[in-house]
């Protein structure tokens, strides 16, 4: 347990602070951009799904970034601890950070008089964050390129805004706005597959390299 905590401590100290700062800034400027007080359930869902969920793209895809440099990656892979373990610890840590930020934001919405089912919305928004971030992790792992890791969820988000419901069906990310939660189950399943797939792809590259 101690060694996992060490990995997370290093992650929190060196790798993720800038991304957390960007996410916090995104949330702090939200009252200037969208309504955050006295909202009904539909408008609250809109704020969470179309705005707050974007921090998933900021926080999750960079989990492979510290080993972007091939020399560092080679060095890390010679260590006793498995690569996937390091990535999973970082991913879980970042998911926890996302959940905390989302929880605080939902608390702020409730404090400001918004009326909505907090538990359901928390789970729904977190699922969307995980799916957006998972897309990033998967494509980063697949292409070994952070830019593609950002590009995939951003394009998915833009496509969803531009009438994507017709094409995305059960993977449509803004379903809570119309009171539907079935899509969130699919998104949660998709997020697990994408994150696991991304880590597997990343580590598969390693094994091939050291054959």
């Amino acid at each position: 347990m101690e060694r996992y905590w060490q990995i997370e401590k290093i992650n929190l100290k060196y790798h993720i602070p800038l991304h957390v700062l960007v996410s916090v800034l995104l949330l702090l400027i939200s009252p200037f951009l969208i309504g955050v007080a006295n909202l009904g359930a539909q408008d609250t869902a809109k704020a969470l799904e179309m705005y707050v969920a974007l921090i998933g793209i900021v926080l999750l895809p960079p989990v492979f970034l510290p080993e972007q440099n091939r020399d560092i990656r080679d060095l890390i892979y010679t260590k006793y601890l498995n690569g996937p373990v390091i990535y999973l610890v970082r991913i879980l840590g970042n998911i926890l950070l996302m959940a905390v930020l989302l929880g605080l934001y939902i608390g702020m919405l409730a404090y400001n008089g918004c009326e909505f089912p907090a538990g359901k919305y928390f789970c729904g928004a977190l699922t969307e964050m995980l799916f957006l971030g998972g897309l990033g992790v998967f494509f980063y792992g697949l292409c070994d390129n952070l830019v593609i890791g950002y590009m995939a969820p951003i394009v998915y988000y833009i496509a969803a805004i531009g009438g994507g419901e017709k094409y995305m069906k059960m993977f449509y990310p803004f379903s809570m706005v119309r009171g539907s939660y079935g899509e969130k189950v699919w998104l949660a399943f998709g997020a697990v597959v994408l994150v696991s797939g991304g880590v597997w792809l990343r580590c598969r590259r390693k094994r091939r390299k050291f054959k």
Binding site: V22, L26, F32, L33, I34, G35, A37, N38, L39, G40, D43, K46, L54, I57, V58, Q68, G113, C143, N145, L146, V147, I148, Y150, M151, I154, V155, I158, A159, I161, G162, G163, Y167
Partner: protein
């Protein structure tokens, strides 16, 4: 030297995965939005509706605005665009009561119950033939002057935090009146005669493409910027004889050309549809319209997004440009959501004109659009100059934010 480097950069771009992903996304955007595009037919007499237009008549402005206020007052929810971004506002008791008073002073409607009754009657009446799609209009109270009306609406706008349907900017937008057959024919004639058919469809093409082109170039720019560092060739390239200006400009030109090419190729599809229709209908279509609009409308966006991506990547050696451009795109696209019909281009990175019609709106807003596009072109060139400066400083060993010396210091501390 510039020519040689330019060709080499184009070849490298053509071999990069990210470029082909961008091309695929553009094809997806085109096919989902314009793949089934059909040339609009001439309006016929006796049609159920010919669409809507904005009116500048104070009486219509008052009636339409009061209609909106009544609807939103009943809904207890107001739509505003404080900085051009959609915001839903629900008022507290005190402000809600004041809006009720304003509605009573301007429209003579006392209380929410009376307003609700009017809305219910209106929705019942809308089911009757001839009224479908028409917006609610409320007669102003007796003796209300236009000046009093504007003062009270300004107050309502202030209570709602600005950017509401009652502010000066949006009041005229409320005054939507149905187009007559004659007006619809006039607008269609403008498409055939002034726009020569292809002009209108080229604007529609640009409207759809500019959404994705407001962000996609940054991915190519960042990837190109980080490529030297990833392959550990940065220092080697720094030592080459070639000037910083030549290196950066050749990269930039290659990016612009490689991003514009797929757009031009995609535009061939709607162009051919337009030419085929024009041939049958005997219209002298403008064959170069899509090229002109691509260069005039889309190129400045491609230029500035690529230049910003290059500058931030060169400065930080990270993918931070993606996040910055993402934020800019988000604000630009959402702030343009209320000006889809064109004519109000403002300073948006992604000017919208989501119809092949409204030549008059385009004509009236042309000076604004031209200023917008020139500004972004100038900004792009300035960003390229700044990138050249940063690159030359790095070659001299300065501005290495993520350099080894800094990393070494961190380890010692």
């Amino acid at each position: 030297m510039l020519g040689q480097l330019f060709v080499r950069e184009c070849r490298q771009t053509a071999r990069s995965l990210i470029f082909w992903l961008i091309v695929l996304i553009l094809i997806f955007d085109f096919t989902t939005q314009l793949g089934e595009m059909e040339i609009g037919e001439e309006p016929q007499p006796g049609q159920e509706s010919y669409g809507y237009r904005q009116s500048k008549d104070p009486d219509i402005i008052m009636r339409s605005t009061l209609g909106q206020l009544t609807e939103e007052y009943v809904r207890e929810n107001y739509t505003t665009y404080p900085i051009g971004f959609y915001k839903s506002v629900t008022l507290n008791e005190k402000d809600d009561a004041r809006i009720g008073e304003i509605l009573e002073e301007t429209a003579g409607i006392a209380g929410r119950e009376s307003a609700k009754q009017i809305i219910e009657e209106w929705y019942a009446a809308r089911n009757e033939p001839g009224l479908a799609g028409e917006l609610l209009k409320i007669e102003p109270a007796d003796g209300l002057t236009y000046e009093q009306f504007t003062d009270l609406m300004d107050e309502a706008d202030k209570i709602l935090g600005g950017g509401s349907n009652y502010g000066k900017e949006y009041r005229e937008k409320n005054a939507q009146v149905p187009k007559t057959y004659e007006e619809a024919v006039k607008e269609y004639d403008a498409l055939l005669e002034k726009d020569r058919l292809t002009g209108g469809y080229a604007r529609l093409f640009c409207d759809y493409m500019v959404i994705f082109l407001g962000i996609l170039p940054v991915f190519l720019a960042v990837t190109r910027g980080l490529r030297d560092r990833r392959s550990m060739m940065q220092e080697l390239i720094y030592t080459r004889k070639c000037s910083s200006l030549t290196v950066i400009v050749s990269r930039y030109l290659a990016m612009i050309v490689m991003l514009t090419l797929p757009v031009l190729i995609l535009s061939l599809n709607p162009l051919l549809k337009c030419m085929s229709y024009a041939g049958k209908a005997g219209i002298a279509a403008d064959m170069l319209a899509f090229v002109k609009y691509t260069f005039g409308w889309l190129l400045p966006t491609i230029m500035v997004v690529s230049a910003l991506g290059m500058l931030l990547t060169e400065l930080t050696d990270t993918a931070a440009a993606v996040l910055v451009q993402g934020a800019w795109w988000f604000i630009a696209v959402f702030s343009g959501a209320d000006s889809l019909r064109g004519g109000m281009y403002g300073w948006s990175l992604t000017p919208r004109h989501n119809t092949e019609l409204n030549w008059q709106g385009f004509h009236d807003g042309f000076a604004q659009l031209a200023a917008n596009r020139l500004l972004y072109t100038a900004a792009a060139l300035l960003l390229v100059v700044l990138t050249v400066f940063i690159y030359s400083q790095k070659r001299k060993g300065r501005l290495h934010i993520r350099g080894k010396i800094l990393a070494d210091r961190k380890n010692k501390s």
